[in-house]
């Protein structure tokens, strides 16, 4: 029996009943309610809406009223002649991201870490973080006014050297370089944040010991700094792989035009065009569904791989 005391007795979690706890925490539940509603309505309801990938969705019939067609849209997807090209484009951009973009924040963070004077380090950081906050519209617009054949500074420079102007904006050959350079410009600086945080946690004594053993700065980086951020690199690599088909729709959409469509059309822009422009709701949902599913599978696989290697996974 519980003794009656002046203060309400402290309720040990394992001993109080669930119903009591729910009542006691009613304000907390109220607090998370709006957020939960958001996730249910705008995240999970659309997931239910994925079902139209298996139906022949007609707006006036609604989701439930539309006819069931099974895998018809998926069949079409795989036999559609364009799909190979689109998938290739998507994978190529992903590859470019992985090879050219991914290492840069790592290298930059290592370089920043070696700057002795905090004042300059701060200035560099301020400058390289900035592009991340510009919208893709701004980035692409700046690219546009610089690359245009009609007065853009790059072309003017080329012309002044005696060469012919290059049509950066429309020609298919220049789409991918333009894309990846803009990605690097925008995100490389921001990406250093997380690596710098991991580096900051390194015990300075390790460096001291290394120095006493005669290690130069490069060796110190290789043997101390890099291994310390290995976990972070792997986690981010996993997340990136999960994004394999996911890349920066808005960016590509802004660069896309009728001339470079062969190399620029990726899965997401295809979904957008087929779905919202041409009204092929079910078909484009099927395409998007396929893409999301692949991403999920990739993340799960990559995560499992990481855990096998002894690293912490993402979840």
């Amino acid at each position: 029996m519980q003794q009656a005391i002046a203060r309400p007795e402290p309720e040990l979690r394992s001993e109080s009943r669930l119903s009591r706890r729910l009542v006691r925490n009613k304000w907390l539940y109220l607090m998370i309610l709006p957020g939960l509603l958001y996730f249910v309505i705008f995240k999970y309801l659309p997931m239910y809406g994925l079902i139209i990938a298996f139906k022949d969705y007609k707006p006036f019939a609604g989701i439930n009223g539309s006819e069931w067609v099974g895998f018809k849209h998926f069949d079409r997807l795989f036999t559609e002649s364009d799909f190979g090209t689109i998938l290739t484009n998507t994978l190529v951009l992903f590859g470019l991201n992985l090879v050219f973009f991914f290492p840069i924040p790592i290298i930059l963070s290592l370089m920043l870490n070696e700057v002795r004077l905090t004042f300059f380090k701060r200035i560099f950081q301020t400058i390289i973080y900035l592009p991340h906050f510009m919208s893709w519209v701004i980035i692409v617009s700046i690219g546009y006014v610089m690359l245009t054949m009609d007065g853009g500074i790059i072309n003017e420079f080329i012309a002044s050297l005696g060469f012919e102007k290059i049509n950066f904006l429309l020609s298919p050959e220049w789409f991918r370089p333009t894309y990846i350079i803009q990605v690097i410009w925008r995100e490389a600086g921001w990406g250093t944040i997380i690596y710098l945080a991991a580096i900051a946690a390194i015990d300075p004594q390790l460096y001291e010991a290394a120095r006493m053993d005669g290690a130069g700065r490069l060796r110190q980086i290789w043997h101390i700094t890099l291994p310390a951020i290995r976990s972070v690199i792997i986690v981010l690599l996993i997340l990136k792989i999960g994004d394999v088909l996911e890349l920066g729709f808005e960016h590509v959409y802004l660069l896309l035009n009728s001339m470079n469509r062969d190399v620029a059309e990726i899965i997401d822009t295809y979904v957008y065009t087929a779905g919202l422009r041409q009204g092929q709701f079910s078909y484009s949902t099927a395409v998007g569904f396929f893409k999301s599913l692949v991403g999920l599978v990739m993340v799960v696989i990559a995560n499992r791989l990481a855990k096998k290697m002894g690293e912490e996974g993402v979840y």
Partner: protein, 291 residues
């Protein structure tokens, strides 16, 4: 760190510094070029002589773009959704993050899983569009706010930060008769200012940069936020005076005008950025990715 006084060490430091300086300069050049270009005259743009510093300063481009109220309206829209959106997002994100941070909340793990899962898989563009449509939000500014009110990543950062606040503080507040709302608003939030500032900035930037949602959900061109207008002017060269679509006498915008619009669209971020920049490294990381 201890100074490395060997010759090799110092050389390394110098080269490293020089490279970083070069990178920083190269990153800034496009901005400088565009800002400078916005202050040149059409004549100079035609001659195309300048690179970074115009020889002939002029604010013709700005006079031109502010001569109609198109840009004003667009900016007002963007400011509106940014302010309202950020406040709304911060409110429901903080509440949810705090609720999830409390260890004594039953079902906490389930909720967290629901949140994290959305980071790995989602319904996609079309289903989300259909949901918004069914809710009747087409051509409604709420369509630019509600569908993105909470960013799972931001939520997790907030939650992790709140979790690190000593329980003792909450306990004593409870004894003093505070309910959970009181604890959140009077104790937890004031202690969390760095992370609040950081996450607010993240949300604000997302709202300010709204483009895709605007073209998907807003059919009325008068409702366009600044990014959509920017795209129209710079890339599609559609002219500033959209209210008279048939007016072919309005010349397409020239380089200086385009650059001026870019500057205007970027300005608010540039103004706010220095004040909040010092909070990033701390605020964002106190949450940390792996939470």
């Amino acid at each position: 760190m201890v100074e490395d006084r060997t010759l090799a060490g110092r050389l390394f430091g110098i080269v490293n510094f020089a490279l970083l300086a070069l990178i920083a300069i190269v990153m800034m050049l496009p901005f400088i070029h565009v800002v400078a270009g916005s202050f040149t005259t059409s004549a100079e743009m035609a001659v195309k002589k300048f690179v970074l510093i115009p020889t002939d300063w002029s604010i013709d481009a700005y006079k031109f773009i502010f001569s109609t109220n198109t840009i004003f309206r667009s900016m007002a829209v963007s400011v509106g959704i940014t302010v309202v959106g950020t406040l709304f997002s911060m409110l429901i994100s903080s509440m949810m993050a705090y609720g999830l941070a409390r260890r004594d909340l039953d079902g906490r793990q389930v909720f967290m899983f629901l949140v994290v899962f959305t980071m790995l898989f989602n319904g996609g563009l079309i289903p989300t569009f259909l949901v918004v449509k069914e809710l009747g939000l087409i051509d409604n500014y709420a369509a630019l706010i509600l569908p993105i009110s909470i960013n799972a990543f931001n939520l997790i950062i907030l939650k992790n930060f709140f979790q690190n606040i000593p329980e003792g503080l909450e306990e004593s507040a409870k004894i003093d008769g505070c309910n959970d709302f009181g604890i959140l608003f009077r104790i937890v939030l004031p202690l969390s200012m760095p992370v609040i500032a950081t996450i607010s900035l993240f949300y604000a930037v997302t709202y300010w940069n709204t483009y895709l949602n605007a073209i998907m959900y807003l059919n009325e061109s008068k409702m366009w936020p600044i990014q959509v207008l920017l795209r129209q002017i710079v890339v599609l060269a559609s002219g500033l005076d959209y209210s008279s679509d048939l007016d072919s006498a309005v010349p397409p915008p020239d380089q200086a005008v385009k650059m001026a619009v870019i500057v205007v669209a970027t300005l608010p971020i540039l103004l706010v950025y220095p004040f909040l920049q010092k909070h990033f490294a701390k605020g964002a990381l106190l949450g940390s990715v792996k939470g």
